[in-house]
Amino acid sequence: MTNELIDQIKKNIRRYGQRLKIMEVCGTHTTAIHRNGFPSIFQEEIDFLSGPGCPVCVTGGAFIDRLAGLAKTAEVYTFGDMIRVPGNQTSLDQARLAFGNVRIMLSPLDAVRKAASSGIPSIIAAVGFDTTAPVFALAVELCCQERITNISFLTELKTLETPLRYLLAANQSIDGLILPGHVATVVGEQGFSYVPYYRIPSVIMGFEGTDILRGLLTITSSLLAGDYCVKNEYSRVVRPLGNLKAQALVDRYYQPCDTYFRGIGTLPGAGLKLRASYASLEHPDSSSLETISQHDTGCRCGDILMGRLKPNQCELFGAACRPDNPRGACMVSAEGSCAAYFRYRGGI
């Protein structure tokens, strides 16, 4: 079955007549593609690229610095994989060592309960894309319902549509898109209705090897047919309209705002901030938009996230920048494209 799929995909690409650039925007896809050895299997046919869909990878350095600074006077709750992300000046790991009050949360809801029972001034780092935003909305709702006053949110939530549109407009050499399975549970198929406008085939896929191969077959067949409709091949999890309750909750508590993406810059309307009625729960520092770009450390995360470079084309990769000593965000997250390259290709 697997070999048949591989043969069919290769045959399609030969008929199409050119090497393809296929991008995914989800860390689990990054890992699954490497784990299954697809970059080697399709060495002659496909360049696999990782786009700007990993929240850890796109969070700006100034946000990390701000959060680390706030740990001087408050308890800071964050997802664990943000801890080692380098800021421009410092990291949350350094703040944890210096001040001792950086707490790792598995869920914003747990963080609210812990912070509320401690009574200590607490800040919850609200980082994530469309999948995670509804859970932060639940956390905000919980704070409102229980009239919790010692918690505020430093919000850096992002939506995938704007960076994806920006990327597709800026990098017209991308031939196909692997759409994220779990983000799509919230936004649904309809959440990607803008993709066909860029005349690129796209498929919502699961994470098994055969899911990805079937998706690649669909992308290559669609290229041959000139069919750019979004295909949902993960319909056992993703519904056409997504999770409407989750969408309504995000809309109740959040409104669009400009936000900064590491390596890309500020994108208008690509972020979420709390609506005015809930502004008392937003930490005042949330609004200070990043104005300086990442310090020039030689890190090429931005080019990698835009599909212009592969991780091993960055000069720091494998030498100055490794998973045990990351210089860029894409090497920090276990699901970042540089970390996946390093892990599955032995740092070469």
């Binding site: 699954a32 784990r35 994989d81 943000m82 509804p134 859970v135 779990h182 983000v183 994470f207 999890v237």
Partner: protein, 76 residues
């Protein structure tokens, strides 16, 4: 952090819109406020402490197997 993992609902706490779930023998509480008509025995996709979608038992097993293979469940 984006990883969604499958879990089985073992007990509902209706007033709190919350449920106990089990995944790989680990019991934890998650919010079920984003889903309707959840009953014990249902399988759900959990992300960051909230159930985002209902799953069939077969799909739950499939996702668990693939996440286990990728080592992603250890991060959650």
């Amino acid at each position: 952090m984006c990883v969604g993992y499958p879990a089985k609902i073992t007990e509902l706490v209706p007033d709190l819109k919350c449920a106990y779930v089990e995944c790989r023998g680990i019991r934890t509480a998650v919010s079920v406020a984003l889903l309707d008509d959840i009953v014990p025995g249902d399988y759900v996709l959990v992300h960051a402490g909230a159930a985002l979608e209902k799953l069939t038992r077969e799909t739950a097993a499939e996702i668990e197997a693939v996440l286990e293979e990728l080592g992603s469940l250890n991060d959650e």
